[in-house]
């Protein structure tokens, strides 16, 4: 990655800059520091995957970058603009034209067809009528939903809905895509399609992409993987984390859900995965127990 000298004022090379960003929820006794003094630069066109256990602050970080939360302290710059100085209306404009959001759940409007869901965000940005309709259909075709354009969300599978959400995120051709656990609610096969789609989208369109996930398949498309723990981005993978061989999610080594097979330890995210493993250990064991020390897994912040 190219590091641009801050003092030169060439900050436009960065899509996203975070300086000492802290977010604390609540006050006094209820205070929770979800993001703790984070310093982060993301290059234009870079794909960054943020991993970390549940509650580590991934969602909060995405919300901060997406101008949906105000930091307790610190500075956030998106596409060269300080969020702090922007009005509410400007923040809305930034969200609809420069950022595409993909959430854990598709979050489509239940009363609208997939095409209308995409059209709506175009409408919000001032593209209306036929132009919006045509662009929506084109986007849905790109995500493989040509045959589903007039279906309501309730008439589509979770994976299809998530693909509509991806089409919606791309609608206004934003420079930045922010995705929070986009595959967490999908079964592994559907999740795979979505991962492929995200990969294609990111690479083909040269978008800056930040994905929070503990889906290891997504990790593979990253230019850079960040490890978030207790709201801090850590320099290395922690040895304390393992992969659940059944669902391929990251789990902590301290979990009580552990099984031994051929003298090796395996760790699981849930009792369900553990049971599955026990039914047929051979088929899962080969998936490895990667513990983060693999080459290339060392990341810098």
């Amino acid at each position: 990655m190219t590091i641009t000298d801050q003092s030169s004022g060439e900050s436009t090379d960065w899509a996203i800059e975070l300086y000492n960003v802290t977010k604390t929820y609540g006050t006094k006794y209820t205070a929770v520091t979800a993001v703790d003094d984070v310093f982060l630069h993301v290059e234009r066109g870079e794909i960054v995957v943020i991993m970390g256990p549940s509650g580590s602050g991934k969602t909060t970080l995405i919300q901060l970058i997406g101008a949906l939360l105000t930091p307790t302290s610190g500075d956030i710059i998106v596409n060269g603009r300080h969020l702090e100085g922007l009005s509410k209306a400007d923040l809305s404009k930034l969200r609809r034209s420069e950022i595409g959001f993909i959430f854990q759940t598709p979050n489509l409007l239940a009363g609208l067809t997939s095409s209308q869901n995409v059209e709506l965000v175009l409408n919000l940005a001032g593209i209306k009528g036929r132009a919006a309709k045509e662009r929506a259909l084109h986007l849905l075709e790109q995500v493989g939903l040509k045959e589903r354009t007039s279906h309501l969300p309730s008439q589509m599978s979770g994976g299809e809905q998530q693909r509509v959400a991806i089409a919606r995120a791309l609608a206004n051709d934003p420079q930045i895509i922010l995705a929070d656990e986009p595959t967490a609610n999908l079964d592994s096969k559907t999740g795979h399609h979505v991962v492929e789609l995200l990969k294609r989208t990111a690479k083909n369109h040269g978008k800056t992409v930040i994905i929070a996930t503990h889906d290891m398949r997504i990790r593979d498309l990253a230019d850079r993987v960040l490890w978030l723990e207790d709201g801090k981005i850590s320099v290395r993978w922690s040895d304390g984390y393992m992969i659940d061989p059944v669902c391929l999610m990251l789990v902590t080594k301290s979990t009580i859900l552990r099984a031994e097979h051929n003298g090796k330890n395996y760790y699981f995210c849930s009792r369900g995965c553990l049971e599955k493993f026990k039914e047929n250990p051979e088929s899962y064991a080969s998936r490895g127990t990667w513990n983060g020390d693999r080459e290339g897994s060392v990341v810098d912040a």
């Binding site: 949906l68 959001f101 609208l112 209306k128 919606r168």
Partner: protein
């Protein structure tokens, strides 16, 4: 607006039963408003008819009396000759108008007796819908609502003050709600009030004189009487009698309007709560508060217009049906009332949409990141 995906309409389509119940509520509110405004209108028309229907140019009353129920007028018959001789007066005929409480079929009924001059016909019925339009001694023309209510017909009899009257005609637009107008000859009516007096003189003027000239001439010649044009008399009537009711009409109309606003407001509030997550999504993907508020405003206007339109369509026929059973229920609804009611409908929607506006502003877009 129409080039956009219509979120408002689709949200409403998704909540049909709520919308139907609310539209029903709005219809009730429109019913209240239209009834009140219609009653006011009907009263006002009735007062106009009572005066202008008599057919004279001027009304002469005792000084200081408007001639209404509240301040009856009494004039000696002896001034009839003096009146006729006033410059510009063509005819001056007496009219007795007096309330009379009687019993018909054992039910207490208040009649408003008109004893009029049958030679000129001044003060006689102005809208006869059955039978003859004038009476002779011993005959009576009665109000339509009275006829309906008491099952009276042309050819039947009506007895009061110890005298039998034969019903010869039915008159419309003479239902005073608190009393029914009936018409008899002046001579028959004389027996009902003091000897040698009348309540009014009805005056027609000669051509070549203005109303005001003749009014002045009469008041100069006869200092103890007042003369005023039919229009002025009608206005004085309305001010005196309706004056007390109008604030009540307005109050009840305003309550009706508030009920409508409340009903739509509650609907919008509940729809907004149902859809809070979706509004959060809209905000997250870049909709401004104003853009989201517009969705709610559109919903409000759609529902209130639906309600007011249904009200305007259903209520006039409903009132006609009600009038068959309750003839005193005189409500007159005019096309311009319907117009104003639809304007009110839009305003109601706008006002009602203010109720959930704060809720919308408070919806946190960050909630879309929460798991289901």
């Amino acid at each position: 607006m129409f080039e956009m995906v219509d979120v408002a309409l689709r949200n409403l389509a998704h909540a049909k039963s709520k919308v139907i119940v609310s539209v029903g509520g709005v219809v009730l509110s429109v019913f209240l408003i239209l009834t009140m405004v219609g009653l006011n209108q009907a009263f006002s028309t009735m007062m106009d008819d009572m005066i202008t229907g008599a057919g004279s140019d001027l009304w002469v009353t005792s000084k200081g009396s408007s001639g209404s129920f509240h301040s009856p007028s009494l004039l000696p018959m002896s001034i009839q000759d003096n009146l006729t001789q006033v410059d510009g007066v063509r005819e001056a005929v007496p009219l007795i108008r007096t309330p009379l409480s009687t019993k018909i079929h054992d039910e207490k009924v208040l009649l408003y007796i008109n004893g009029y001059d049958i030679e000129t016909g001044l003060g006689g019925p102005w809208s006869v819908i059955a039978g003859k339009s004038e009476v002779n001694d011993g005959e009576i023309i009665i109000d339509k609502a009275l006829a309906q209510k008491q099952n009276l017909e042309v050819g039947g009899n009506l007895t009061f003050s110890g005298k039998d009257f034969q019903i010869v005609g039915i008159s419309d637009k003479t239902n005073l709600m608190i009393a029914y107008m009936v018409f008899i000859t002046f001579d028959d009516a004389k027996a009902l009030i003091l000897e040698g007096v009348t309540n009014y003189f009805l005056v027609t003027i000669e051509t070549g004189y203005t109303l005001q000239q003749v009014v002045d001439n009469i008041e100069t010649a006869l200092p103890d009487v007042s003369a005023s044009t039919s229009d002025e008399t009608a206005k004085a009537y309305k001010d005196e009698i309706l004056g007390g009711f109008v604030p009540i009409f307005y109050l009840l109309s305003a309550i009706g309007l508030l009920v409508g606003i409340q009903v739509i407001g509650v609907l919008l509030y509940s729809l907004t709560m149902d859809k809070a997550k979706e509004y959060g999504i809209l905000k997250a993907v870049g909709a401004t508060n104003l853009q989201v508020y517009r969705v709610v405003l559109e919903q409000a206007i759609i529902v209130s217009l639906l309600g007011f339109a249904a009200g305007a369509a259903v209520i006039p026929p409903l009132i006609s049906v009600l009038q068959v059973f309750v003839p005193e229920f005189i409500v007159s609804i005019t096309p311009d009332m319907i117009f104003w009611v639809s304007i009110l409908g839009i305003l109601t929607g706008v006002v009602a949409s203010i109720l959930p506006a704060r809720k919308i502003a408070a919806i946190d877009p960050a909630l879309v990141f929460k798991e289901v």
